[in-house]
Amino acid sequence: MELSLNHRDEGAATVLEVAGEVDVYTAPKLRERLIELVQDGRHHIVVDMTKVEFLDSTGLGVLVGGLKRVRSHDGSLRLVCDKERILKIFRITGLTKVFPIHDSLDEALQDSG
């Protein structure tokens, strides 16, 4: 399965919807999109991962890179994830302490900004 990315602005935040598989082959596309969004002045990003089927450490690394980038602009990067199998890899790597992770997009948008 390929990776598809769509973004839209919701108030002060930008929602980046990620669908498909994020691995070493597809992650560069996600990295580039995050860089573009920050360069365009979008510093409060919500990455909606509810349609992500697979994510490994390459994808985690890209999200960490995105977080550092928005933080350097006093921004924020929140994640929406409701799949246990994906949450598990955030827990194993200790990244649940680094990313605000929400069950729903509404909840993430309420806290964003």
Binding site: M1, V24, D56, S57, I92, T93, V98
Partner: protein, 147 residues
């Protein structure tokens, strides 16, 4: 079922194929779906590392995955001809800067496989074992999985 050897060109485009084939074999062996998800990530990590090693070292030889069920587990060995690396010990996770990029693959492999060994020789050999059933110990009744 004897082990299967899969020779893949050292191109990251094939990591998805590696996941697909190894997980299909694990399902055929009766592995519970929850464990197949663990296996899927661990195979992706080890194969990505192997492909990266070949690309870094200009090594054109294939990366070789050997996998199949044993008596009570499913075993995968991923061998590359790269320069190899010394994986961080499991306790290094405690002192790690969570914002450090890289190195997460080995942490995930250790966290997901029931046992893992890293052998550095001519290249790198990562051997991972997964229980086929959901229970790590005791009752090893195989889960019924639709294939």
């Amino acid at each position: 079922m004897p082990a299967v050897d899969l020779h893949l060109p050292p191109d990251v485009a094939y990591v998805g194929l590696a996941r697909l084939i190894v997980c299909a074999a694990a399902r055929l062996a009766g592995m519970a779906e929850e464990r197949v998800e663990d296996l899927r990530i661990a195979v992706s990590e080890a194969t990505t590392n192997a492909m990266a090693a070949h690309n870094r070292d200009g090594e054109g030889a294939p990366v070789v995955l050997s996998f199949g069920p044993t008596k009570s587990s499913f075993e995968v060995t991923i061998a590359d001809a790269g320069a190899g690396f010394d994986p961080e010990p499991p306790e290094a996770l405690n002192d790690r800067d969570p914002l450090q990029e890289g190195g997460l693959g080995v942490i995930l492999i250790r966290g997901l496989a029931d046992s893992v060994s890293f052998e550095r020789g001519e290249g790198m050999r990562v051997n991972m074992r997964f229980q086929v059933g959901l229970e790590a110990d005791g009752d090893r009744t195989q889960a019924s999985v639709d294939v």
